[in-house]
Symmetry: C2
Subunit: 508 residues, 2 copies
C-alpha cells in the first residue's frame, strides 16, 4: 500500500526562547503555556518528549505546561541545561515538535525479552543515549535489563567499544601511557592523586581522568576538586600533562565516554552497578584516554564491592581479557577491603589524608601510604621503570624525599591553582557503648552514613574514623565523627547511625 497524499513539509510554529533560570541537574526541560498555539497544533501534552530546534542545533527535552501569566503564549522557557545545549540567546526563535521514535529502544525491548544484542544494536543504543534521546525511564530499563541478564563478553566488548567511540579520543606522544583505577566500594581508598604524583615525578606519562562517585561518598574527581579545579577541557588537560607528566581531572568535562556519566547518574539512583557495566565503564574511559597500561585495584572484603577472592579473580580475568581486545595491558591487584582506608571518608576529608601522605607528615595514615606505594610500584614495574619486586620501595623513596609532594603541587597549580579543602560547620561524635575490641567494620553502612551527611555533593561532609579493626576501645570513647555542612544533614546522618548500631562491632 502506502501512496500517501503529499502534504507540504510540516513546520511547527516558532516560539521565542526564554531563559527560565531553572536548575534541573542534567535534565533538558522546556516549559510552554498550556494554551500556546504550538502545543495545540502539535498535539503536545505535559511530559511529552519533544525535539527543540534552533538553527542547526537540536536538543531532546521533556515538556511541561503552565497556565497563568508567568509565560507568554509564544514563549518556550528552557532549563539551564537545554539553554546551554541549544546555544540560544533570549528571544531567538526555536521550534518544538514531538521527539521522533527512539529506534534503538526496539533493541532494549528485545534484550528485556531475553535476546542478546549484537554490536550494531549496542552501537545504536549508545548513540541514542549520547544524543540525549533516552529519558531516565529508558536508561533505567536498559541498565536493569543488562543487570538481570548480565552482559556477556561479546556484549561487554561491544558496549566498551561503543562507549569509547562516542566521546573524545585522546592520544599521547609516548609509548607508555599509564593509568590506574580502583573498582570502588572501599571508603577512603583515595590513592590516585598520590600514585599520579609519584609516577609523574618518575618521568612517566599519566593523564588521569577520574569519575565522580556512583554509589560511594566520594569519587577521585570529587576529592581532587577540593584541592584543585578538575573540570578542565581537553586543551587545558593536554597542557597540564605536557608540562607535568600527569594530571587528575574529571573525565566528564573532557567528554571521555560521556555515556558513562549518563549511565552513572541512573545507577546512582538505583544503587546498582553490575559487572559488565563496570567493565565497560572502566575500560571505555581508559581506551578513550589513550592509555596503554593500567593497574587495577580490586579491594576484597565482606562489605566491599567485591566480596570474595574468587569473585575478584573472575572479575580480574574478564577485565584483563577484554582490555587485551583493545591493546590495553591490564594488571589487577587484589587488596584488603575489610575496612576503610585512611581516616577520612568524603571528598574534603579524604583530601586531607592525601595531603598528609604527600607531605610526609607523621600523622599520615600508614595504610593509605602503603597502598599508594604498592600500586605506584607495580605501575613502575609494569612500565619497566623499576626492577621486578623493587617498585614499591622506589615509590616510597619518591614520597620520602618530597619529590611526590613537589610534583603534586605543580600539577595542582597547572590545573588552575591549589585549593584548601573546606571544613564542615557541623560535627558530632559517635561513641562506643561498650568496652572491647573492634572486630568488624561495615563499609557499606559507613558509606551510607557519609552520604546521608551530604557527601559527595557537600564537599566537607563525611566521616573521620577514630578506630580501626583490632583496636581496643573503652565505653564512651569516640569511634568516629560525622561531619556535615548543614544541621539538617547532620540530623539525617545521626538518625541513621542511631538505628544501625552494628556499623562498628565491638567484642567484649
Amino acid at each position: 500500500m502506502s501512496e500517501v497524499v503529499k502534504t507540504a513539509p510540516h513546520a511547527p510554529p516558532p516560539l521565542k526562547a526564554r531563559r527560565f533560570g531553572l536548575y534541573a541537574q542534567h535534565e533538558s526541560i522546556v516549559l510552554m503555556h498550556r494554551d500556546c498555539h504550538a502545543c495545540r497544533s502539535e498535539g503536545l501534552s505535559p511530559r511529552s518528549q519533544v525535539l527543540l530546534t534552533s538553527g542547526t542545533r537540536e536538543v531532546y527535552a521533556t515538556l511541561y505546561q503552565m497556565d497563568g501569566d508567568i509565560l507568554a503564549l509564544d514563549e518556550a522557557a528552557l532549563s539551564e541545561e537545554a539553554w546551554r545545549l541549544l546555544g540560544v540567546e533570549a528571544g531567538d526563535l526555536l521550534t518544538v515538535r514531538h521527539a521522533p521514535t527512539i529506534e534503538s529502544m526496539s533493541s532494549v525491548r528485545r534484550r528485556i525479552y531475553g535476546t542478546r544484542l549484537d554490536d550494531t544494536a549496542i552501537d545504536g543504543i549508545v548513540r541514542d543515549v549520547v544524543a540525549g534521546r533516552y529519558t531516565p525511564i529508558h536508561l533505567a530499563a536498559f541498565l536493569t535489563a543488562t543487570s538481570v541478564l548480565p552482559l556477556d563478553d561479546a556484549e561487554t566488548v561491544a558496549l566498551t567499544r561503543a562507549m569509547a567511540g562516542v566521546g573524545e579520543q585522546l592520544d599521547w606522544p609516548s609509548d607508555v601511557v599509564m593509568d590506574k583505577h580502583c573498582i570502588g566500594g572501599l571508603p577512603g581508598n583515595r590513592t590516585t592523586p598520590i600514585v599520579v604524583a609519584i609516577l609523574a615525578a618518575c618521568g612517566l606519562v599519566m593523564p588521569k581522568t577520574s569519575s565522580r562517585a556512583i554509589t560511594s561518598p566520594a569519587g577521585t574527581a570529587d576529592t581532587m576538586e577540593t584541592l584543585a579545579p578538575v573540570d578542565l577541557d581537553l586543551p587545558a588537560m593536554r597542557r597540564v600533562v605536557d608540562a607535568e607528566g600527569g594530571c587528575i581531572v574529571w573525565g566528564g568535562a573532557v567528554r571521555l565516554s560521556p555515556v558513562d556519566d549518563i549511565f552513572i547518574r541512573v545507577e546512582r539512583v538505583l544503587d546498582v552497578d553490575t559487572e559488565g557495566q563496570l567493565i565497560a565503564s572502566v575500560l571505555s574511559k581508559k581506551i578513550a584516554a589513550g592509555s596503554t597500561h593500567v593497574v587495577l585495584d580490586i579491594p576484597v572484603g565482606a562489605t566491599a564491592k567485591v566480596r570474595t577472592r574468587e569473585a575478584a579473580a573472575k572479575l580480574s580475568q574478564r577485565l584483563i581479557e577484554i582490555a587485551a581486545r583493545f591493546d590495553l595491558k591490564a594488571l589487577c591487584m587484589q587488596t584488603d577491603g575489610t575496612q576503610p582506608v585512611g581516616v577520612g571518608i568524603g571528598p574534603a576529608l579524604e583530601a586531607l589524608d592525601v595531603l598528609a601522605v604527600l607531605q610526609n607528615r607523621p600523622e599520615a595514615p600508614p595504610d593509605l601510604r602503603q597502598r599508594a606505594c604498592l600500586l605506584a610500584g607495580t605501575a613502575l614495574e609494569l612500565a619497566g621503570a623499576a626492577k621486578a619486586g623493587l617498585g614499591a620501595e622506589a615509590a616510597e623513596a619518591v614520597i620520602a624525599d618530597g619529590r611526590a609532594w613537589a610534583r603534586f603541587q605543580r600539577i595542582c597549580e597547572a590545573q588552575g591553582g591549589m585549593r584548601t579543602p573546606p571544613v564542615a560547620a557541623q560535627r558530632a561524635p559517635i561513641h562506643a557503648t561498650r568496652s572491647g575490641r573492634v572486630i568488624l567494620i561495615d563499609n557499606r553502612q559507613l558509606a551510607t552514613l557519609a552520604k546521608l551527611a551530604g557527601a559527595p555533593d557537600r564537599k566537607a561532609a563525611g566521616i573521620q574514623m577514630q578506630v580501626r579493626l583490632g583496636a581496643e576501645v573503652a565505653a564512651g570513647q569516640p569511634l568516629l565523627t560525622v561531619h556535615a555542612e548543614t544541621a539538617g544533614e547532620l540530623a539525617y546522618a545521626l538518625d541513621y547511625a542511631a538505628s544501625h548500631g552494628d556499623m562498628i562491632e565491638i567484642d567484649a
Copy 2:
C-alpha cells in the same frame, strides 16, 4: 557502638505554598529558589527527592530550583498534582526535607541480582509505590527486572494480592458478579460496552471497570469516555450499578488497584507489558472489583499481543489457576487476532462502531457484533442464565430487539449523560499502490499509526479501515483514512505510513 549525641528533633524551616499552575501529568514537583534557606539548611540539590509535609499530609516530590525573581526565597511552588495531593491553600505553610530512603528498593535490588521475592517483599514494594515513593527510574527498574526474569507463579500471586489490597475493594449484594476482559493487542476490539449492555439487559450484575490504553491506541475507558463520563467515584459507580445492573467506568477513578495505573504509565513509555505483570494487572482489578466470574478474550495472531495458540493456552492456564487462588472463576476464549475488529481504531472511531452494533444499523461491523455476542453468550452460560451452546443466540436476540441499546443509553445517562463522539478536523486517505488481494494486515503498525495520529490522548484521532483480509482492491483505491485533531499529528502519522508500506500487504 552507636550512642549518638542527642539533638533536638530536626525541623526544617517552613515555606509558603504557591500554586504554580504547572502541569506535569501525574508528577509531583516542587520548585524552590536556589538561595532559599530551606535548600541550604537541608542540603537540597536540583532533582533531589523530597518529602513535602503540611499538617498531617505528606507528598513525595521532585525538587527543581530557580534563580531570578519569579519565586520568593520563602516560597515552595507546587505542580498541580502536588497541590492536589497536599491539599493546601495559597500561603499555607509546608516543610520540605530529604525523602527518606525507600526501604523496599533493597528488594528490587535483590531481584535485579536474581533473587526471587516473597510476599512480604512484594507487599513492601507495592506499598511504597502507592505512597508515591518510587520515581520513574525506580518503577522502570522494578518492571524491567520482573520482565527479564519473569515473575513466577508465587510472585504473580503475591503481586496480584498486594495490588488488589492497596486500593478500594468493592462488594456487591449478588452471588454472581460478572466481568470480562480482553488481553489487548487487537486494534478496534471494543466489545466491552456491548457485552455490558447485553448482560445488564439480561438481569446480570456487571460493574465493569476498564483501564486506559497501555501501548494501544485506545482502552475501553478511552473509548467509553467519548460516549459518557467514566471518571465516576465509588458511590456514583454503585448508584449506576444499583439502578441499571451494569456500568463501564474508568478503574483509575475508583482507585481499584491504583498501583496498576502507576505501572501502566511506565510500561507505556517502555512499550513493555510481560505475562506476570499482565496477569497481576488484570486479576488484581477483578478481585478488587468484587467479581466472581470473568470471561477473558485472548486474540491470537502473528501481530496480536499473543502470537500463537500455544502461548494463548499457556497464558490461559496461568490466568485460570491464579484466578482460582482468589475464588474467581475465569474462562478464557481464544479469538481471531489476525486483523483489527470493526472499522474504527482510536477512541471516538471505535465508539462509532459500538453505537452502530447496539443500534442494529445495517452498516454495523459484523465481526464486532459477532465477537460481542460470543463473549456475552459465554458469560450468560457461565452465569447459568443461558443453556450451554445457546448463549450467543440469546445475546444476538437482545441486540436485535433493541433491549441492549435501550440499556446502554440508560447506563450512559446514569453515568452522567450520553455524549456524541468528537470528529477529527484533519483527515487523509492512504491508497493502494497496486491491484490485488489483501493478504496481511499488521496490527502493530496500524496501532503505531493511530498513536502517531494522536490516539488515545486525542479522542477523535485514529484510523478508519476500508479493507479487510481477503478483499480484492484496485490500485488507487483507499485502504484506510487517517484521522487527526491537528495538522502536526496528521503529518507525523503520514510520514510513518509513507515509510511502512508493508502495513497492508497486497498480493497481485
